[in-house]
């Protein structure tokens, strides 16, 4: 054979061989063979019945029972069934599995002794922490594993539950994946001021290290139904939960922070004693830190735009200037009322600055901040804070008069 052709054909065969190693990577794992967990719940130690039975059957490793750790795995078989039959399926599309112990990693690896497919955390969306657990355990310890893990993304949202956290990962029907429900509910912020901006692991890393206090959305659950309700206050120094804010108090903090993107303000018109409701279209707040003779004080200016969306009062002059003025004053007073409630709770009762007064002082008076930052919580509880609310009624919706 012509040596030239021989050489070419050998090269050709070699290049075909080369293709064989190009098809995949060594570390490949088929997605069907993995247990993808999307949600997580940390609770006070409380072994499930199943766990107790398993413990009786076998010798358990030495551990302290500090945390009950639940992961929610998307059950693909369940999903497939429901989609192929078209009707409601009989099995739930998710699987919750609980383990009690101390080290989160150890517990996570324990799951491998109970599941046929290994767990992967790349798609973790939500971590729910029980409030009572957070009162006892430092957030640094609870979250350390998640911050170190290379699968888990820092965009994971952290929520708090005043009830049993793993209950928030249950759904009544067979169509809902509870974690996705929680993750989507966070997107409803345009509709309600009750939904706080999501706190992700990224936010927590910074706050935990700088000893900044923060609040986490509280979520309660009953019978497979969940609701965002109020917030949990985490103290920056101790990194433990100080307590809860009820819905009204949390609302006050939302106004102070001015971070809402929607929501409603409901008032009673004093003239007609009837109900008027406004929809907030825009909202902002500005904290002014003042330092005079070493005395710190704060003034918060809250501004918002709103439109009348419901008016039960029989005034037939919605466009009347007097009406608009009356409504604005009433709405401003209403907001001031909730701000007072919220501020009172965090400043006097919890003595924890979750609004960011400290940050405002740090930005506006960095030198002063250096003096007070070490004992900020105590200083904060004694600082006079004033606030004023300004509302602009922009329009009255599609209806003009009665």
């Amino acid at each position: 054979m012509n040596p030239h052709i021989l050489r070419k054909s050998i090269l050709f065969c070699l290049s075909i061989l080369l293709l064989m190693v190009q098809t995949g990577c060594w570390s490949m794992a088929e997605i069907e063979d993995l247990s993808m967990y999307v949600g997580m719940a940390l609770d006070e130690p409380e072994e499930t019945e199943l766990e107790q039975k398993l413990n009786e059957l076998g010798y358990d490793q030495p551990k302290k029972n500090l945390i009950s750790y639940t992961v929610q795995i998307v059950n693909k078989q369940g999903e497939e069934k429901s989609s192929s039959s078209g009707s409601s399926s009989t099995s739930k599309p998710y699987l919750n599995i609980t383990e009690t112990g101390d080290s989160l990693l150890q517990m996570e690896r324990e799951f491998s002794t109970r599941l046929e497919r290994p767990l992967i955390g790349n798609h973790l969306k939500v971590i729910v922490i029980n409030e009572k657990l957070a009162r006892k355990q430092n957030m640094n310890y609870l979250l350390d594993f998640f911050l170190r893990d290379n699968d888990i993304r820092l965009s994971t949202v952290v929520l708090m539950s005043s009830e049993r956290a793993r209950d928030t990962l249950e759904a009544k029907d067979n169509a809902t994946i509870p974690t996705f429900r929680l993750a989507s509910m966070i997107n409803n912020r345009r509709r309600s001021l009750q939904i706080l901006p999501p706190v992700t692991l990224t936010n927590l890393v910074g706050d935990m290290r700088s000893h900044t206090s923060y609040m986490l959305q509280n979520v309660v659950a009953t019978e497979g139904i969940v609701k965002f309700s109020g917030a949990a206050v985490i103290n920056g120094k101790t990194q433990t939960c100080k307590g809860l804010l009820n819905e009204e108090e949390a609302l006050g903090i939302s106004w102070l922070k001015g971070f809402g993107v929607g929501g409603v303000v409901k008032i009673t018109d004093e003239m007609t004693k009837q109900l008027v409701t406004f929809e907030v279209t825009q909202m902002k707040s500005k904290i002014n830190a003042k330092v005079q003779n070493n005395e710190i004080s704060f003034d918060v200016k809250i501004q918002f735009d709103a439109r009348t969306m419901e008016n039960w009062s029989k005034s037939n002059k919605d466009f009347d200037d007097g009406f608009i003025e009356r409504m604005q004053t009433a709405a401003e007073e209403e907001v001031e009322r909730v701000v007072k409630i919220g501020l009172g709770k965090i400043q006097k009762k919890y003595k924890t600055d979750i609004v960011g007064f400290g940050k405002a002082l740090q930005i506006q008076h960095p030198k002063q901040w250096q003096h007070v930052k070490d004992d900020w919580d105590k200083t904060f509880s004694e600082i006079p804070i004033t606030y004023s609310v300004k509302m602009k009624l922009t329009d009255n919706g599609a209806k003009s008069t009665h």
């Binding site: 990577c25 060594w26 993304r153 692991l201 910074g206 960095p366 250096q370």
Partner: protein, 363 residues
């Protein structure tokens, strides 16, 4: 000695410098500077550090322009004598291959952690070395041409990926400006030296330039591009995560990209994009440092360049394995950073003075 084929243009020179600089540093940069500065003013440190780097680059370019057609390895003996010059060359050779080894090791650490969990270290590193060797045997011109392709691609993708971090950007994280005065900014200055490592290549590649008198311009552009990219990186990373978060993360720039998800575009997550272009940048940094090191060996001992290229393979591989853990790796990086300050920040000033003095004596 240097053939026409081995000539590179002014743009190519700038590209080589920029590509050298943009290496492993970019993933850890916000943390390394943030640790020292401690306030959100890190970006000021980057600007100042960049300015100093450009200054040092100009001095080195001026120095190499005095001896056209000659690399640092050849002209240093004319300045400080055969033995001292030889020693300096040897230090420089070691310096370059240690950088090459650090790049490889960082590449390995990140790919094992985030991309290829089960792939053995030797497989990642050796593949990389062989692919690079293939390019290196072609000489400086193919290297320059490949770099010209890599740089724009990586800059565009990098800026898009980092720019999407603006989704979680909070301006308050960058405030207060100079809250604790200018001192913290200056404290971080020396740590920028490792990130601006790369300008020293001008001492070697000026000899390959078609127009060596343009080397000052090349070094200025070559440093300005990475400086702007570093600036954007620290502003967005610190603005999105706060300086406190940044200093507690091992790879803050990757964490920024893992901290957001974009819905509506084809992809939701952009970590792999960042890692892919970053691997290309590591490749270019590794290649050029390896080349500089091998070229030094060949000029010092009068060996063939190809022999030196192969000779260095096991040495670099073993150096890569020296750091026992990531901490030691980062420490080695810091050490090299200090070397950069003395070797290429201060020494060239001295050499330039000697050269001027010698020149005036002859004139």
């Amino acid at each position: 000695m240097i053939g026409v084929k081995d000539r590179i243009s002014t743009v190519q020179t700038a590209v080589i410098i920029a590509n050298f600089m943009l290496g492993s540093g970019i993933l850890t940069l916000p943390r390394i500077i943030g640790e020292k500065v401690g306030t959100p003013d890190v970006w000021l440190t980057v600007i100042l550090g960049g300015g100093l780097a450009i200054l040092a680059g100009v001095i080195m370019a001026k120095l190499s322009m005095i001896y056209p057609e000659q690399t640092f390895y050849q002209f240093n003996r004319l300045l400080i004598g055969k033995w001292m010059g030889g020693l300096l060359s040897l230090i420089t050779i070691v310096y370059f291959f240690v950088i090459a080894a650090i790049q490889l090791r960082t590449l390995n650490e990140v790919t094992v952690l985030f991309l290829l969990g089960g792939t053995p270290t030797w497989a990642i590193i050796m593949m990389f070395m062989w692919v690079s060797l293939y390019l290196l045997t072609g000489g400086i011109n193919p290297i320059a041409r490949l770099f010209e392709i890599i740089l724009p691609i990586s800059i565009v993708i990098y800026l898009i990926v980092i720019g999407m971090g603006l989704k979680i950007f909070d301006f308050n994280n960058l405030r207060p400006l100079l809250g604790q005065g200018i001192m913290p900014v200056l404290k971080g200055l020396e740590t920028t030296s490792f990130t601006f490592t790369g300008i020293e290549i001008i001492l070697i590649i000026t000899a390959f330039m078609k127009k060596p008198n343009k080397s000052v311009k090349a070094v200025m552009y070559g440093t300005a591009i990475p400086m702007v990219i570093y600036l954007i990186t620290v502003v967005i990373v610190i603005g999105s995560m706060s300086v406190d978060a940044v200093v507690s993360r091992t790879w803050p720039t990757i964490d920024l990209v893992r901290g957001y998800e974009v819905s509506g575009l084809i992809f939701e997550r952009y970590d792999s994009f960042l890692l892919v272009i970053w691997i290309m940048q590591i490749y270019s940094t590794y290649t050029i440092t390896y080349y500089a090191s091998a070229l030094g060996l060949s000029l010092l001992f009068k060996w063939k360049l190809n022999t030196c290229l192969f000779l260095l393979l096991p040495i670099v591989f073993l150096t890569t394995m020296i750091p026992k853990n990531t901490n030691e790796l980062f420490k080695l990086g810091d050490m090299v950073g200090y070397c950069t300050i003395y070797l290429f920040g201060l020494l060239p000033i001295l050499l330039l003075l000697i050269a001027k003095w010698k020149g005036s004596r002859q004139g």
